[in-house]
Amino acid sequence: MGKTKSNLRGFIKIKIKLFSSLLIFLLLILNACIIFLLLNLNYLKAYEIAIHEQLLSNIEDTHGKKLQELSTLEVKIEDLKGLDQKILTIKQQFFDNALAYETLVLQGKGTKKIAYLTIDDGPYSQYTPSFLDILDNYDILATFFLIGKPNPILEPIYKRIADSGHTIGNHTYSHAIKRGLYNSVDSFINDVIKQEKFLQTKTGVTTNIVRFPGGSMTAKSGYRTEILKRLRTLNYGYIDWNVSTGDSGGYPTPTSVLNNVLNGINDKKIAVILMHDFSYSTLLALPTMIEELKRRDYIFLPLFYESAKIIK
């Protein structure tokens, strides 16, 4: 009985030992599988992290670029919104520089001479747009001494002259040299004031330069001094010309217009050239005139109140 018990115990002991060995072995295999799984998962996660990091870095890059784009756009919009002020500033700069350069030229120091193209008596629906086209093509600013023409067809031309940046001068409303303009000081001054109001309505521009129809000498000497005094109190300056195209009377041809200018200019340091936009001959001569004057070292400027050529 005792032996049997002892055998049984021995048998159970062996079984337990076998079972525990088997269990350890199985656990080892299971753990190996778990390790294999975890290693794979870790590898997968590391790969996913790398992808996400790359994605994040790409997004950061794009983010930076977009922010840059955004700030550029904001600056652009601010610039566009402040364009009115910028135009005023650059115009002021331009006229300051024009004055500085004119002073240099008068001192004989400038490398180029100055030509002020002045176009009187317009606008005319027939030729003024073509005059403006030529000036645009050559990127030149001129001075238009306009008179009062309440014709609706001419409204866009008044506007175009102003929008193109040309200087607008007051040439009286009526230009009625032979119909009473110079009969009295008041008739002249009232005509100038009437034209000022008219131009403000049509162009939004306030003028400060007057050209007497026919030139300042057309005013009777008795009235002339008084007119000039009154113009000064109204803060106007005036200007005549020192070169004429000769296109206002007779039978001018493009050749005569060109010759008048080229002979008249005679190497003047500052040329104030008179022309009229009702003249087809002047229109035809204008491109050659501009090119020839450029060749002769002239630059083209629009008139401005501070110019030494404006008599105040």
Binding site: I35, L73, I77
Partner: protein, 91 residues
């Protein structure tokens, strides 16, 4: 001899359990990092979308202003050109 093998088996089992525990910790940390990264990517992507939307709006606004101020832009450029001629002459 058998006992030594058994001890070795135990030791290997213990070692492998510790190793798998380390692997699990590493996996857990990676998972956490991935979750953080995914959230960050989503947030950044949303921000990016917002910016893209703002840019689109601003581009439209700029286009409208451009159209509105086309003449003024030309006018400004003309004055810049004219001024440059004088600046060059005054140098």
């Amino acid at each position: 001899m058998k006992k030594i093998i058994k001890y070795w088996l135990f030791l290997v089992l213990g070692g492998s359990i510790i190793y798998s525990l380390f692997n699990y910790i590493s996996y857990y940390e990676k998972q956490q990092k991935l979750t953080t990264l995914t959230t960050e990517v989503t947030e950044r992507y949303e921000q990016l979308n917002d910016i893209a939307e703002t840019i689109l709006k601003l581009e439209l606004e700029a286009k409208e202003i451009n159209k509105e101020k086309e003449k003024q832009i030309e006018e400004y450029q003309k004055w810049v050109r004219q001024n440059q001629i004088l600046e060059d002459l005054l140098k």
